[in-house]
Symmetry: C2
Subunit: 485 residues, 2 copies
């Protein structure tokens, strides 16, 4: 278990309040960080009459609509719900996926979730084109075991459609007590058929920093999220690796959706050389604030940063800062989120989160919707997109469906070569299944029953987690080795 | 061409303003009808201070949110857009798919569309679970020719996702000048793969009433929509059939999404016997208003009503009234829409449409979300769900994909028997293709190229439109014949 009590609660903050893809400033010194804090309260005096003039001018129309609904609409109408609707509607009119309003009830659910531990499927999600989309499943989580992948779109949970829900509402449907099932309808890009994936919820074990000394004294530090403890943990792990004589460092922010701005700044200020700029924020008025590194010289070992399309926000701040100070990035173009959100609470406990700044790389690039291109581009093989089959009835010769296609992709990944991956269960597919069954001491039937399907799933998850099959990591290490020589 | 200048413009009103599934009261005498008219204006004096008290009490919070957005949000903020957003948000908080707000721009586009003729794909659409869903394609329309079917969900139009759009916004994307193409991404229930369907837009020919004297002096009147001319046209057609000595009448409201309340009342008051009740409305306060038939005796011929799941709203009023006065309904359970909407314009040209009443059948049943069960249940055969294949490259032996599945369903419908319908192009599928090609004097290749695909499409559309293959109509006629004897 990677679980640490405090981290878990904080991850919930990041995942729910800041919608997983948010670089949120919650504390700190100077500039934007001191103005905007997650717990600041809004009151009438917070806004000037200049700011609300537009509302006063249009108040009559708003009143007409409100009054018409109250007096004529056939159903029950609740004052608070209408006002919540109005505020939500204003925020939605901004057409910014990172700005959101959380009503009292949703915010309350969120606060109570801080007291309990985090139980759910273990995946970072975001809203993309109105769909709840997986950024990345946590390593070792039920979501990963069940085969969910980045970019998967969750359409339904236990027959409840997520269409039209806010991210927070959707997350509350996906989460649930340990041991319960989340039956998901999932759309995966490139695969047109809707998939059924059942995830058994669990206590979600999360640590945000993991390190390892690999062969050749090459260190690896993986950051899965930027939460409150992350910078401190990173400092500890970095120090430990340095004391062991590390000759090169791989920093892995693949699938890292971001988190707290102060956390990434505190990490970057120990890595970016010569007190150079880490990033800049730019507010509505165009005012820029620069954040500088605190490292006087330069680390005496080379570094590379591994990125993928799931690396967002704070991960991009780190990758951008290191790239523009001369280090290489390896993998795929990052997500492309160049904005900073801050959250404000209303007195009644509801909460509004707004995009209040852009952030720019040290050279002044705004990577929003563009991402950071890797210096060394490495795609993952096709079978990384596959899901192990979860057939209702055994898959066999001459069938033709999506489950067979999953089977074929997984067999291909595991090195058993079916002749095709279009979902038709051919003779050669049968031969591949038989070979798999023989290797794993299962009855050699050539049919994929539950037992064979479970074994395929286990083997496939092991494959995905095997460093040897991690092509991006391997290329990252090769890149470092050239610089060590 | 069924086109009649005036009807076309009115259909646009029905399709856009009333979202296709709306029984909207726009004119009439007495009760609800006189209170609510589509063109009534809202002004400050329309609403009482009692109705807006909740707004006053919560105004401070609304101001805080408004002011925060105006002063802090990074992007451009437009006063009117925020207010529109607030009103839209209030209407959406009702969680009623039939209530909607149309901002000035959307309403303006709509009004200008009244001047031009109606050019588009020719399908009634509604919002279902957040998705733009086909209620029914118009007969002979490009939508029908391209193979769109009731319950199809349109996900994208020319690569623009419709997710998160209002129905009006979505309709404006689907519509377009004659001759242009709408490339649709479509999800069909029961078929998990997303389909590509290209529809060439055209002038949409619509008449809302069509009649025919069939064999055995059985008359058929089909009502495709309840618009302003519908009642008058119906009366003309009915009179003509009666003068020809009609012995029984089939009223076909399959795929009829509804329309104007006065239109259906005017039709029903000529059919429902003995001045019985046609329907009742019930407003927020529980006040009921009854609408009575004007027919003193009873028609001297039997009637049946054909319904399907696309029969909604005004169609259900007609079916319910006739069913509860002793006539039979044949087909499938209807859509289930038991509410009445009315639209009010703001002075700036924007528009709010609200559900202001329920309607009940003569016996007081509220059919909302239940529909009206047919006395004689008749499902249509499976192949009615199929779409003719539109392959990018020729379909041939040993392929396995959705296009092959479409091919197999269509071949089955046309009476050429493939051995399977799971999308695998088997030897017997090839044999069926060859038989089709031979019959239609195409090169007998066993492969489905563009030429063969087009011929399949033509034949399939003919099949669907052939009265002989219309099982529900046939059962309707049989039901009538028993009563004529």
């Amino acid at each position: 278990m990677y679980l640490r009590g405090r981290t878990v609660a904080l991850i919930v903050v990041v995942a729910v309040l800041f919608s997983s893809l948010t670089t949120a400033a919650v504390a700190g010194d100077g500039g934007l960080l001191s103005q905007v804090t997650g717990s600041s309260f809004l009151s009438g005096s917070s806004v000037s009459s200049e700011d609300t003039r537009g509302l006063e001018e249009n108040l009559d129309k708003l009143k007409q609509a409100y009054g018409l609904i109250q007096s004529q609409y056939i159903g029950d109408v609740d004052d608070k719900k209408l006002i919540d609707g109005a505020i939500r509607g204003m925020v939605e009119s901004l057409d910014d996926p990172y700005s959101a309003y959380m009503d009292e009830k949703t915010a309350k659910q969120f606060h109570s979730s801080l007291d309990s531990s985090f139980q759910g499927i273990g995946a970072e999600v975001t809203m993309k084109e109105g769909r709840v989309t997986i950024v990345s499943p946590f390593k070792g989580s039920p979501a990963e075991k069940a085969g969910l992948r980045p970019e998967d779109q969750i359409i339904k949970v236990n027959d409840t459609s997520l269409e039209g829900m806010t991210l927070s509402e959707a997350v509350s449907k996906i989460k649930g007590p340990k041991g319960t099932k989340a039956k998901l309808k999932v759309l995966r890009p490139g695969i047109h058929e809707m998939m059924d994936i059942t995830v058994v919820r669990d206590e979600i074990p999360i640590e945000t920093v993991r390190s390892e000394m690999m062969e050749g004294k090459i260190g690896k530090i993986e950051i899965t999220q930027f939460s409150t403890d992350t910078a401190e943990d990173f400092a500890d792990e970095l120090k430990a690796l340095e004391e062991k004589g590390m000759k090169g460092l791989v920093i892995d922010v693949r699938g890292n959706p971001g988190g707290l701005l102060p956390a990434v700044l505190e990490i970057a200020e120990k890595l970016v050389p010569n007190e150079q700029t880490i990033m800049m924020t730019e507010d509505k008025s165009g005012k820029r604030v620069k954040y500088q590194s605190k490292l006087e010289g330069k680390k005496d070992y080379p570094m590379v940063v591994l990125t993928d399309k799931g690396s967002a926000s704070a991960s991009e701040i780190l990758a951008g800062a290191l790239k523009e100070s001369g280090y290489s990035t390896v993998g795929q173009t990052t997500f492309g989120k160049g904005t900073v959100q801050t959250a404000k609470d209303f007195e009644d406990g509801s909460n509004i989160k707004l995009t209040m700044a852009k952030w720019l790389t040290p050279e002044g690039n705004w990577i929003h919707k563009k991402g950071i291109k890797p210096d060394v581009k490495v795609e993952m093989p096709d079978y990384y997109k596959a899901t192990p089959p979860q057939p209702d009835k055994p898959l066999k010769r001459d069938m033709s469906n999506q489950q067979v296609r999953n089977l074929q992709l997984v067999l291909e990944g595991l090195g058993y070569k079916p002749d095709r991956t279009d979902g038709y269960f051919s003779k050669k597919t049968e031969t591949a299944v038989k070979a798999f069954q023989k290797t794993h001491k299962l009855s050699v039937t050539g049919e994929v029953d539950e037992k064979t399907a479970l074994k395929l799933q286990d083997e496939f998850v092991s494959l995905l987690r095997d460093p040897e099959s991690d092509l991006q990591l391997r290329v990252g290490i090769e890149t470092l080795k050239k610089e060590i020589k």
